[in-house]
Amino acid sequence: MALSRDQIAMRVAQEFKDGDYVNLGIGIPTLAASFVPEGISVMLQSENGLLGMGPYPHEDELDADMINAGKETVTAITGASIFNSAESFAMIRGGHVDFTVLGAFEVDVSGNIASWMIPGKLVKGMGGAMDLVAGAKNIIVTMTHTDKHGNPKLLRECTLPLTGVNCITRIITDLAVLEVVDGAFLLKERAPGVTVEDIQAKTGGKLVVSENVTEMRV
């Protein structure tokens, strides 16, 4: 059965190692912060200039000068640092952030990602997404395996304008965990109750099935 948003986030959080600096996009990626495994600490980077982002504030902690990259009110953890936007993206672009987790409209077998623009719809901008996919050491894309019409979002070649090229290494969907290897999606894990054939049918680009496909632990 397809995973819930929380379950996808739970699987994402299993990627983190103790001591990782992580930038989480809006949506499912942000949920991953709630499922960091026992004994593991990660520090959250918010690209508007905060390293060590904490939970949302209580009513009495609200501060207009303390927001995250989604413009939401936040707190800082003990030991956080705050800096300007150039410094923040120096961290990102310079490869100092260990993980970036973000959503996408499409990814393809070349590791390209399209996540910011649907022609014909109003374009609001890429924000920090292009910098993040160009800079982070490891990028994880989280999304549903297909769109709401059932069309594959893992493609041979992205059809939408790109956010970045040749940058995606790992994709975690509601059906599977895949890596981008040698011009194909390498299937590593499948959601409980989902068959390899289901995944094959819902994947647009070339799929290579790993010798040992395991079940996602969620």
Binding site: N48, G49, G54, Y56, D65, I77, F89, L122, G125
Partner: protein, 243 residues
């Protein structure tokens, strides 16, 4: 040190010299850390055909959004826009141009403008619409695009505390684009919550040295919150560990 006293008493003096067609670089991220009074003064002046460089364009009726009401902005250079209906309408009407720039590239372009770096290479945007028409060069096997610096006739900046010499510090994440904006304007105007005497700020804690600043004015700020999100749970703020 009278020649270094940059404090002005009125918004009129603060924005004196701003004219139609100029480029204004504005600090702020969303509604956080924006020079509210300086923006209001630009509206009052009725200056038109402005190019505004800012990560966002405010919201309907607040922040840079108020400059849309009388169509004062011709061109917007931002990473993320369209948080307001008027912006969308003017964009679709063709009354407003937008140059979308990745957030980190935008910050770096402003910094470069202030630092006398006319252009730099970045991997951000290579192979995307942002890279179209830009020079490409490969370093260590990876392709990068050439991005040029941004400067403006005016920069408008929001500080927490500024001293009379223009030294500024920013509060929490209201820092964001403000230091880069401060460095990239021919005339840089700082609107501060508080003006202090020289010596009250620790020299090593100053975010923007006064050399970048031409005018300082004390402002009153509404500090509107764009997205108020509150936690209902009990939490400690020490760690993201197994919450």
């Amino acid at each position: 040190m009278s020649g270094f006293d940059k404090v002005v008493a009125t918004y009129q003096e603060a924005m004196d010299g701003l004219a139609d067609g100029m480029t204004v670089i504005a600090g702020g991220f969303g509604l956080c850390g924006i020079p509210e009074g300086l923006i209001a003064q630009i509206k009052t002046l009725g200056i038109k055909e402005l190019t505004v460089v800012s990560n966002n364009c405010g919201v309907d009726g607040f922040g840079l959004g108020i400059l849309l009401e009388d169509k004062q902005i011709k061109r917007m250079v931002s990473s993320y826009v369209g948080e307001n209906a008027l912006f969308e309408k003017q964009l679709l009407n063709g009354e407003l141009e937008v140059e979308l720039t990745p957030q980190g590239t935008l910050a770096e372009k402003m910094r470069a403008g202030g630092a006398g770096i006319p252009a730099f290479y970045t991997a951000t945007g290579y192979g995307t619409p942002v890279g179209e028409g830009k020079e490409v060069k490969t370093f260590n096997g990876r392709p990068y695009i050439l991005e040029e610096a941004i400067t403006g006739e005016f920069s408008i900046v929001k500080a927490w505390k500024a001293d009379r010499y223009g030294n500024c510090i920013y509060r929490h994440t209201a820092q964001n684009f403000n230091p880069m904006a401060a460095s990239a304007g021919t005339i840089t105007v700082v609107e501060a919550e508080e003006i202090v005497e020289p010596g009250e700020l620790n020299p090593s804690e100053i975010h923007t040295p006064g050399i970048y600043v031409n005018r300082v004015i004390k402002g009153e700020f509404e500090k509107r919150i764009e997205r108020k999100v509150v936690s209902k749970t009990v939490h400690n703020t020490t760690a993201k560990e197994s919450q």
